[in-house]
Amino acid sequence: MSATGAPKKKPTHEELEATSAGSGVPVPDQIGSGFEGGVIDQAKAWLSRVRGGEMGVLPAVAGLVVLFVMFTIASPYFLTDRNFANLLTQAAPYVMLAMALVFVILLGEIDLSAGVTSGVAMGLFVVLSNPGGIKMNWILALLIALAAGAAIGTFIGFFVARVGIPSFVVTLGLFLGFQGLELLIIGTGGLYRIQEPAVIAIESNNLEPWQGWVMIAVILVISFATAMVDRRRRTRAGVPNRTITLLWIRLVIIAVIGGVVVALLNQDRGQSLLAITGVPIVVPLTLFILWLGTFVLDRTKFGAYLYAIGGNPEAARRAGIKVVGIRWTAFIICSSLAVVSGLFSASKVGSVDASFGTQTVLFGVAAAVVGGVSLFGGRGRLIHGAVGAVVIATITNGLGLLNLPGGVNLLVTGGVLILAATVDAVSRVRAGGSLTR
């Protein structure tokens, strides 16, 4: 028999065997789900998925390890507790921006205005809250900035989801227009220093050492609890669970990596008599948003519909999904999270000027792609964007320590982006897919 149907790819030997099962074969009691078997079966299944092109975050993590080894050899300063904390705070704005963009990239859309959106919102924030100016309460000013982000997302969503203009065009227009709006809000050549200590604290202050350990404990408890809820539901439904050993392995990995990171950050990294210890405050903030976003994408209908629309919008529409509403919401989430990224960035830099955020958006897109998110939509997770952003921040940080000319940084970042895209494309072609999708 031949699988001459509409498959876009050549069926593998296994599929042919599966489809050629004649009518003499008895109907199985239960159709498999890939959850059966012990650790070794699961590892084999995972390996075959990776070989089949579902590399996920693997290339980015491998790249990160390579970069860490290279920079540790090349610079005595790279793997120090001080630089490690610095790397994390440098990465945080990019991680937030990449996560923001993942929401629209999953739809196969793009938001080129995410950077300037953060600039407009943070411009509003500093103008409203600055002690020399309107002197608004900083929390209120921050809420207004976030609302401005949501409003911008609503605006983009209207033109993309409702009117049907390609997001590339709408957000390119905003990218240009908002650079002007930033100039109008802040004033040509203007620069506002962030004066509110609480905002500066996000990137500059640290948790108490014990709070870092509590953070790891909370992460472990939440991971364990959600896994147990999943297992209970599967047991109740009478479908197999993955072997529980896998859960233990995962928790041990989280505990070890998290433990090393917290232990490293709890060292005194101060250069003077004043001790600086602890996990930067931005780390738990970012991890919380990562967890919340991943929860929404993996476990809610909204997340399921986002992936469905990214995969096949027509199928989603026929299934009764309100495609316009989901698209619209994704743009609102993206712009709102972009403002959070701007907040981190302003906290790190300590000021907001009229060109704030104009350079960052393509780094965010690059981070998502490096992490394994497909620009065609439907493939990728928030953690991919986050890891990709750490890769890009590591390149900037490491090359900065080597005293190389600034241009080298951009060249290397661009090279890594193309490399990541190539790895992704080649892995899918090997798996029988096509280069373009």
Partner: protein, 250 residues
């Protein structure tokens, strides 16, 4: 004869000046397979899009279980238990079989997806249709062959107690063995008591499974016959308009 589950009477539909359906009548019976045949442009797609609620009819009555219903959007059709399997299958390649089968009607508990429940129901539905060709319900659809995709699409349609399933050219683009499997699946669908309306260009397939054959010609139903009472040659005649049938019984 049993009570029809769906009965269309004098359906019309125009796109601007072009009149596509000119007073079409059609019946679909529970547990029976009705084949809808006709040449390109005869109005088959327009007729089923109306039944699916995607493109409402201009005039005419739709009776479902003998009650007059309006089909203004896909949700109304779905609520009645009318499901359509389109020719392009409308599956999301990037999602697995379970997520595809439940697309738009996921099982939730406390606002979160109940994957275990969905996986069990998907697996049960596939087994109730005696599907042997799918190894794992968590396979991505992108890894499936054409016949397996058709299987998933049909299984999706009957997941939630569908009463009427409309199949748009289910065997087009399939190889011989896969066509055989899908036709067997269509028969099992009818055996479950579902009213099946199958569009097809392939008269061999039509005569292999259909109980009734309805022929559309240029927007009019020119013949509605029992499959056993007619021949392939006659049906070709009605499709091409070279023959007319006087005893149209609907």
């Amino acid at each position: 004869m049993a009570q029809p589950i769906v009965e269309l009477t004098d359906i019309t539909k125009s796109f601007g000046p072009v009149s596509v359906l000119k007073g079409v009548s059609l019946k679909v019976y529970p547990g029976k397979i009705t084949a809808l045949v006709g040449d390109n442009g005869a109005g088959k797609s327009t007729l089923i899009k109306g039944l699916a609620g995607v493109q409402p009819y201009d005039s005419g009555t739709v009776r479902f279980d003998n009650n007059i219903v309006g089909l203004h959007n896909p949700r109304e059709a779905t609520a009645l238990g009318i499901e359509v399997v389109y020719q392009d299958l409308a599956l999301c390649d990037n999602l697995d079989i379970v997520r595809n089968m439940f697309l738009g009607r996921e099982e939730t508990e406390w606002g979160t997806l109940d994957e275990g429940q969905m996986e069990r129901e998907a697996s049960e539905t596939l087994r109730s249709l005696s599907v042997r060709t799918v190894k794992s319900v968590r396979q991505k659809v992108s890894s499936l062959s054409g016949g397996q995709r058709q299987t998933v699409a049909i299984a999706r349609s009957v997941l939630k107690d569908a009463r009427v399933v409309i199949l748009d050219e289910p065997t087009a683009a399939l190889g011989v063995a896969q066509t055989e499997q899908v036709l067997a699946l269509v028969k099992r669908l009818a055996e479950k008591g579902v009213g099946v309306l199958m569009i097809s260009h392939n008269l061999v397939d039509v005569f292999a499974v259909a109980d009734y054959i309805s022929v559309l010609y240029l927007g009019q139903m020119v013949a509605s016959l029992e499959a056993t009472q007619t021949t392939s040659d006659d049906v070709v005649g009605y499709i091409t308009g070279s023959k007319t049938y006087t005893g149209v019984n609907v």
